[in-house]
Structure formats: C-alpha cells, structure tokens
C-alpha cells in the first residue's frame, strides 16, 4: 500500500520531539564538549577546567552520564508529559548532587584555599533540564494550588541539600562560610527593602488610584508624574535621595531615632517606593475602570452608599488586576534592591558589588543567586494568587 509523504508527524513510536532535538543537542554539548567544574588553587586565579570524568570519582561520573543520557533520550523522543517531567526532575537532582560531590572530590584534603566551582557545562546542563521541566509543566497546565505545592517541594529539596552539607566544598558556599552573619543580615535587609516598599506602595497607591478614578482632573497629572519617575535611572534616584533624607534626619526631631539617614536603607526604601507607585496606581485605575457599568448601577439601585459600593463591589472585582500590579512591583523591587548597596543600603547587592570590585565571581553569585531565587519564587507565588483570585467561585465567596 503506497502512500505519499505526509507532513504530519508519523504515528510511529520513535517520532522526534521538536523541542527535544534542541534539548538533546544542549545536553550533548554540556556533557561532552564543555567543562563540568573548574578547579582553582585560590579564589582569584584562573581555573583549570575539568570534564565530568575528571571532576568525579568514576562510579559517580558514569552514573551521572547514564542518568543524563537516559533523560536526554526521553526528551528527544515523543514521550508522555509526566514521564518527561519525572526524567527532567531526576536529571536536575542528579546534577545538583553530583556538583557537590565534585567539590569534595577535587578539593585536596584539608586545603581551605582551593576553590571548586560549577563550570559552563554544568550550567548548560542545568539550563537544558530546567527547560525540559518548564516545558512539561506548561504542557500540564497545573492548577495554582499544585504549582504552589511544587514550589514548596522544590524549596524543601534545596534546603535539604544545603543543610546536608553536600555543597559545602563548592566555592559559593566557601564564600558564604566566611561571611554567614553578613549574609543573613543582608538577606533580612533585602527582604525588608523589597517587601517594605511594596507594603507602603500598596497602602498609599490603592487610595491614590481610587481618587484618580473619582476625579478626572487628578488622573492625568498623577499618572504623568509617576510615569516620569519611572524614567529616572535607579542609581540616580537612589543617589538623589541622599541629600533630602540627610536634611530630614538633621532637622526633624526624632527622625534619626527611627532610622532615617542620608546614607543607608532609608533612601533606598523611598526610591523603591517611588518606583512601586506607578504599577500599583495604574493597575488600580485600570481595574476599577474595568468594572462593568451595569454592576455599579445595580449596586447603586440596591441603595448602597459610595463607600459600600467601593468596598463590596468595585474593589473585589478589580482585585485581580490590582494584584497583578503588586506582582510586577514585588519582582521588580527584589531585583532593584540590589542597587541599594551602591548607597550603603545593604541587601544582596553588597556581595555583587564586592565581587565586581575583587573580580571574585563566586562572591557575585553569592549575591545574585539568592536574589534570583527570591524573585522567581515571588513571581510563582503571586502568579498563582492572581489566577486563584480570577476564578469566579472564589470571587463570589469573597464578595
């Protein structure tokens, strides 16, 4: 039985997955062509690259290769989504454990100067399998609750690996070990800066947004000013607040007692707050504008006062849009708070700038990795919350 060449994928068992071809290529390049770990005699000299077989004892090296090859094969061929997810997760876990072993294997006994760090091959493999997992997750289209559970499980696994001490011989953790106190102090500052400015922006931005929808005269100028604030580069805004804050600290009685000063966290908090206002105010305006006119009329017909209508009808309906504004602000502030270190405001940026100054990339990573983890976590949590708030059942229960 002859049949023409069809462009559709044949139903055979070994059909290739388009994304899988890309992933398999990345995995092959990461495992075969690029170094897995870098060994350096001390923290700032150039490193010697080591491939997988050179960075691990043979039994572990071959196990890792087998796991990577199997997961790569699952990616390459069209397979059920759940299998792809499982294979990607197993490969990620194997990579994370193996890189810790590489630290132990390559560091000479008792040597505290040597540094072992993950190299380009490791990062490429991590990226490839993270892509595979992300793709499987987006195809599964999990419910918000399941996504939150997945995030919590991931956090628990990472915490377990960290606490078990299996990464202790890696360069980033070596940098951490010598400044553990500073790390947690800056972490607290970072969180206070990002969440504190968000709380201030929400408490003031939502009322400003409500006022803008009630008065057309207010709306144009307020949004224009906030738009212009966004165009001022962050490092300039941080710097410009030093003088007025110092002046307030010097002249207003009691101001310096509550922590207001020209240098430090106070100007950073104000700068982050200034950047946060636009998304909160404009999303409040957009959300309230989007409430159907009939709904407002119906509420008025029921004899609700202005205040009741706002609290029981308009704000609950606008809530998902306002929450989206809050998500934008939180993710943006977690990233921007790194700049606060430039004006002595603290936060993870301290390690990034110290690292740039000493050309010590492990130190840069010590600041950058927690920032990214925090931002990604915040984005996942708030995306889930936004989606939950949009579901009609929840909305009715809340209203």
């Amino acid at each position: 039985m002859a049949h023409g060449i069809s462009t559709a994928a044949p139903p055979a068992r070994l059909a290739l997955d388009k994304l899988g071809v890309l992933l398999a290529a990345l995995v092959a390049a990461g495992a075969l062509a690029l170094p897995f770990a870098t060994f350096r005699a001390n923290r700032i000299v150039l490193g010697e690259p080591r491939d997988i077989l050179g960075a691990l004892d043979p039994a572990i090296a071959w196990t890792l290769c087998a796991v990577l090859a199997a997961a790569g094969l699952v990616a390459l061929v069209r397979t059920p989504v759940r299998l792809r997810l499982a294979a990607g997760l197993v490969a990620l876990l194997a990579l994370l454990l193996a890189v810790g072993r590489a630290g132990t294997f390559l560091t000479p006994e008792g040597n505290t100067f040597a540094r072992v760090s993950p190299a380009s091959g490791f990062w490429l493999l991590l990226f490839a399998f993270a892509l595979m997992v992300a793709d499987a997750l987006s195809r599964l289209a999990l419910s918000p609750v399941k996504r939150l559970a997945g995030l919590a499980a991931t956090a628990a696994v990472l915490a377990a690996i960290l606490l078990s001490g299996s990464w202790d011989d890696l360069s980033m953790l070596r940098e951490y070990a010598t400044r553990a106190d500073a790390f947690w102090r800056e972490a607290r500052t970072h969180v206070v800066l990002a969440f504190g400015s968000l709380a201030l922006a929400t408490l003031t931005g939502v009322p400003i947004g409500i006022a803008c929808t009630r008065s057309a005269r207010l709306r144009g100028p307020v949004l224009n000013v906030l738009n212009i604030v966004q165009t001022i580069p962050s490092i300039a805004l941080f710097g410009l607040l030093i003088a007025p804050m110092a002046w307030i600290a010097a002249t207003v009685p009691g101001a310096s007692a509550i922590g207001i000063a020209g240098i430090g966290a106070a100007p950073a908090l104000v700068a982050l707050y200034a950047y946060s206002l636009l998304p909160v105010v404009s999303n409040t305006v957009v959300g309230l504008d989007g409430v159907p006119r009939q709904t407002v009329d119906a509420a008025r017909g029921m004899g609700m006062t202005d205040g009741q209508r706002l609290a029981r009808v308009e704000l609950p309906l606008a809530f998902p849009v306002i929450l989206t504004g809050i998500r934008i602000v939180l993710v943006q502030n977690i990233g921007l708070a790194t700049i606060a270190a430039l004006i002595g405001g603290g936060g993870f940026g301290v390690f990034v700038f110290q690292g740039i100054g000493q050309t010590a990339m492990d130190l840069v990573l010590l600041g950058a990795v927690p920032t990214v983890v925090l931002a990604v976590g915040a984005a996942i949590v708030l995306d889930a919350l936004v989606e939950m708030s949009e579901r009609p059942g929840v909305k009715e229960a809340r209203g």
């Binding site: 997955d17 388009k18 994304l19 892509l131 992300a134 793709d135 997750l137 987006s138 195809r139 212009i228 966004q230 165009t231 001022i232 580069p233 962050s234 490092i235 300039a236 805004l237 710097g239 410009l240 030093i242 003088a243 993710v331 977690i334 990233g335 921007l336 790194t338 700049i339 430039l342 004006i343 940026g349 990034v352 700038f353 690292g355 740039i356 050309t359 990339m361 840069v364 990573l365 600041g367 950058a368 920032t371 990214v372 931002a375 990604v376 984005a379």
Partner: protein, 245 residues
C-alpha cells in the same frame, strides 16, 4: 500649539544646550556642591557620553527587536506552536534576573566595558517586545486571515503584507517600553566600566557630589521622556494611517 508641545520643545532645547556646553550650566549646579567641588562633570565629554549611551541602547534594542519578533513569528506558525507555552515562561523567568547580576556574571566571559552591558540590555529588551509581538500576531481577526487566504496569498505573503503590518503598532509599543527600560538600565553599565551617562552618576556617588548625580539623572530622564513621546507620536500616526487605508 499645546502646552505639552511647548514643554517638550523646551526640554529638547535645554537638553541639547547642556550636552553641547555643560560648563555654561555651572552656576545652576554650583549651590549643590560642597567644599568647592566642581559643579559639572568634565572628566569626559558629556556629548560623547550621551552618544555612547544612546548607541548602546539602540543597538541592544535593535538586536532584541529582531530576535523577539523573529521568535514571535516562529511560535505563531504551525511549525512552532509547540514552543509557544515554553517561550512565554522563559521570557517571564528571564525578567526576574536583576540587571546588575546579569552584568556582573557576563564580565568573566566578555570583559569589562560595553559588551556585558549590551548583553544585559538585550536580554532585558526581549520580553516586552516578544509579549507585544505575540499579542499583535495572535489577536488578528480571523476574517482578515481568511480574506488574505481567499485572495490566494501564500503563507509568506500573508505574513509580510497582512499580519506584520497590522501588528506593527502593538510591536512598536513593545519596542518603546524596552527602549525606556534600557535607557535607565544602561546607566548601571558604568559599574562595569561601560562609557555611558551612568559614569556621571557614579562619579557623583563616589565623590559625594549631588550636582553630578542630578545632571546625570536629569539627562537620562529627559532623553527617556523625549524618546517615549517620539515613539508614541509614530505609533499614533501609524494607527491613523492604517485606519484610513
């Protein structure tokens, strides 16, 4: 002439005057300095810094536009639909990386200077353009597509003559967002020794000179506002022209 137009023209004139002859503005900034510090940054030519700044921003946004629009076209064709959900989540996650971290991590591979800054601006520019190009290409009315097919257009003709022109105003809005973000982010490039207007601000932070911080910030802010308005004006003209034909 509306008040807005007058204000914009005045901003442009003052900006150009400052870039061409910054020393003339010395008396204006002098009250902000202490202990006889210089009121105007003269270690590098202000105009050169501004030109470098703009060149870096436009190069990065141009590259980001080509890649983002190209990707959006691929994932909206039948061949690439499998990549659509994944490309969305990558672009989303990419935006959560703080620019300073991207800069610092690009330094070992690319050295200090403009190259790591270009990479950071490029990565940051991708998401807004990609999102908007996707919206523009997927929100077309099916009737328009059918009409193009009915006229016997090939896939390629339909893309070039119908879909892209209709999506253009939305894509331009994405480019506008990316440009404004990049203008501000480029200043951070000076922490890794890129020659941009950030140099002025950082010199001010290091020497405790508010005049430097203010002039650097104001020049970048004015550039951003003017470029934003120029984009908006072009978008409106395009939208109007398309409404007419």
């Amino acid at each position: 002439m509306s008040a807005g137009t007058v204000l914009r023209a005045a901003t442009l004139v003052v900006l150009l005057a400052f870039l061409l002859a910054p020393e003339a503005f010395g008396p204006l900034f002098a009250p902000l300095t202490e202990r006889g510090a210089p009121p105007i940054y003269v270690q590098a030519d202000m105009l050169t810094l501004a030109v470098n700044h703009l060149a870096l921003v436009f190069a990065a946004v141009f590259a980001a536009t080509i890649v983002a629009v190209g990707l959006a076209i691929v994932v909206t064709r039948p061949f690439g639909t499998e990549f659509l959900p994944l490309s969305r989540s990558i672009a989303n996650i990419g935006q959560t990386f703080p620019p300073i971290a991207v800069l610092a991590l690009a330094v070992p591979a690319l050295g200090f200077g403009a190259a790591p800054t270009f990479v950071a601006l490029f990565l940051y520019g991708l998401l807004p353009i990609f999102e908007n190009a996707l919206t523009g290409l997927t929100n077309l009315q099916p009737t328009v597509r059918d009409a193009a097919d009915g006229m016997g257009m090939t896939e390629r003709q339909r893309l070039l003559r119908v879909e892209l022109p209709l999506a253009l105003p939305v894509i331009l809005a994405g480019i506008r967002l990316s440009t404004v973000i990049a203008l501000a982010t480029a200043t951070i490039g000076s922490t890794v020794a890129a020659s941009t207007l950030g140099e002025v601000i950082i010199a001010g932070l290091l020497t405790d000179n508010i005049a430097f911080i203010l002039q650097g910030g104001l020049v970048v802010g004015a550039l951003a506002v003017l470029i934003y308005d120029a984009f908006l004006w072009t978008e409106r003209r395009l939208a109007r022209r398309m409404g007419r034909t």
